[in-house]
């Protein structure tokens, strides 16, 4: 009877904890009060509706056309226009990747921001909205794809990059756009011209823009144990057409070429914003956001700054754009710094490895790291309690807490309550709280929260 009461208490406690937790989940989705800014196309419309703003904006565009920043700022009229526009919605507008009128949006963004920055800054602010999703669906998918929980002999043999190609071929949309870029990039034009690079880049951009990242990242960032797999990974973007060239340009020259194009400039700025090494975070990535870094890396494929794996080494991952620092003159140091953001970037490397392994970071050191070790077969089987041995250690401990109550000869005719114990503990997640990692898993078996478990356990021991 005491125990029956305990269940009631537990249930009640659980409910109240949940209700406590729900407001924080709301905050979590808004990410510290950050509100999405208006996009620049919309901001332009707002400005056009106002005569003062629209005339100043016209002036500024004329100022910027064909003149460098210094001559522009020497002009009083231009400077006044810039000052007025800093108060307008145009000033902090942003763009979205793959949005309608993306190029137009970016043109508007840079028309203001080129006037504001020094113009020759090493890192430029990204015109794209930050990726706010918590870490994240694609990582959870990755953990299932990589199937690390499966038979070790099997996973040693398996080629994740081949599996990724299979997954793409079996999806109508992915197969169509993959075949489209492969046939474009693989089409030889003449003995002198390997392929139509421009068309190849365009087809690659369409593939990465229009196919969900669960397919594209899986092909691009699959983990490898042997060279055949790593070579397949390197071949993903058909580097002989899209990446390699007769000559390797200097990286700073390549950067200047890229900055001459609004889209390339924006994607590069976005890469710098999301993959720049941070010394404050455990993952070396800004805000520990792997997904944002991988997204902006993939966002550069199909532009002048297209990055790729430099060789087919399965374990040591080195990516780089097609350039070198030879011939840098007195800019050698800056060139090396630029190149190292690709070749020796712990944030980027960690993000690629974490995706390939299907592991994610749990940033708060108080929480145990949840290794994603579930195999895909668990999707089908009912989660309780037959496959206890398959589940993660944490999941097991909670479930056994409940089963031990059952085993101790509890004659509970309220088996409903007992199943409540299972379901509440195993499916109930407190979103948002101090979880930066992925609290619930993809197969519909969310992982319980440790604090809740602790309280439950304490109460149980008290009762017994």
């Amino acid at each position: 009877m005491i125990l029956a009461n305990t269940f009631c208490i537990l249930f009640f406690l659980d409910e109240s904890l949940r209700s406590l937790a729900s407001p924080s989940s709301l905050q979590g989705s808004e990410l510290h009060g950050w509100r999405p800014p208006v996009d620049c196309v919309r901001a332009n419309e707002l400005c056009a509706a106002e005569s003062n703003c629209s005339s100043r904006y016209r002036t500024l565009r004329q100022c910027l056309a064909g003149r460098d920043r210094n001559t522009m700022l020497a002009n009083k009229e231009c400077q006044a226009a810039l000052e007025v526009l800093q108060e307008s919605p145009l000033y902090d507008c942003r763009c979205k990747r793959g949005m309608k009128k993306e190029l137009q949006c970016l043109q508007i963004y840079w028309s203001i921001h080129l006037g504001l920055t020094e113009g020759e800054e090493f890192y430029e602010a990204s015109p794209y909205e930050p990726i706010t999703s918590r870490l994240s669906d694609i990582f959870r998918l990755a953990s299932i794809f990589s199937g690390t929980g499966a038979d070790p002999a099997m996973s040693a043999k398996s080629n994740h990059c081949l599996d990724a190609a299979k997954a793409c071929n079996l999806n109508e949309n992915c197969k169509r756009l993959r075949s489209a870029y492969i046939s474009t990039c693989n089409r030889e034009i003449s003995n002198f011209e390997r392929c139509n690079r421009r068309k190849c880049h365009k087809a690659l951009r369409q593939f990465f823009d229009r196919v969900p990242s669960e397919y594209t990242y899986r092909m691009l960032f699959c983990s490898c144990r042997d060279q055949a797999c790593a070579e397949r990974r390197r071949q993903t973007i058909l580097p002989s057409c899209s990446y390699e060239d007769k000559e390797k340009p200097n990286c700073l020259d390549l950067r200047n070429l890229c900055r001459g194009d609004h889209l390339c400039r924006s994607r590069l700025a976005d890469f710098h914003a999301n993959c720049r090494v941070s010394y404050q975070t455990t993952t070396s990535c800004p805000s520990d956001n792997y997904q944002a870094c991988l997204g902006s890396y993939a966002g550069m494929i199909g532009f002048d700054m297209t990055p790729n794996y430099v060789d087919s080494n399965p374990t040591s991952i080195v990516v780089s754009p097609w350039c070198s620092c030879r011939g840098s003159g007195n800019m050698e140091e800056e060139c090396e710094k630029f190149l190292k953001d690709f070749t020796e970037n712990p944030c980027l490397r960690n993000a690629i490895q974490a995706f390939g392994n299907g592991t994610d970071v749990n940033v708060s050191p108080k929480n145990p790291v949840f290794h994603a070790t579930q195999s895909p077969k668990m999707e089908k089987t009912p989660s309780l309690p037959d496959d206890l041995s398959d589940s993660t250690s944490l999941g097991t401990s909670i479930i056994t807490t409940c089963t031990s109550v059952q085993e101790q000869g509890l004659k509970l005719n309220k088996s409903k309550e007992l199943s409540t114990c299972f379901t509440e503990l195993t499916t109930n997640v407190i979103p948002g709280s101090n979880f930066v990692g992925s609290p619930d898993s993809v197969d519909g078996r969310p992982r319980p929260v440790i604090t809740l478990t602790a309280v439950t356990f304490l109460l149980l021991t008290l009762a017994l």
């Binding site: 081949l162 190609a165 197969k175 489209a180 055949a228 397949r232 071949q235």
Partner: protein, 107 residues
Amino acid sequence: ARRKRARLRHQPCGLRELEVSVSELGLGYVSDETILFRYCSGTCEAAARIYDLGLRRLRQQRRVRKEKVRARPCCRPLAYEEEVSFLDSRNRYHTVSELSAKECGCV
């Protein structure tokens, strides 16, 4: 199992699909990549025309004997998938068009 087979055989003409490795197709490409192969299968009895009945009758009467004729419609692709690309075991890409059926019909 036999009944299942019989049922399958009597299904009307339509698109079926199979996951196969490129090597299995025996087209000379060596690749472990898996693709979705769609083909046409099923019966076309309902689609028989007067033409087929007439031809059958003439064959019975041995008026048509020597040529090879087919007095019933056949389940065949009406349209094919444009192209499918894959990487072979020597790291070369290939694109094959009209490999897989897209639409079936009795013709």
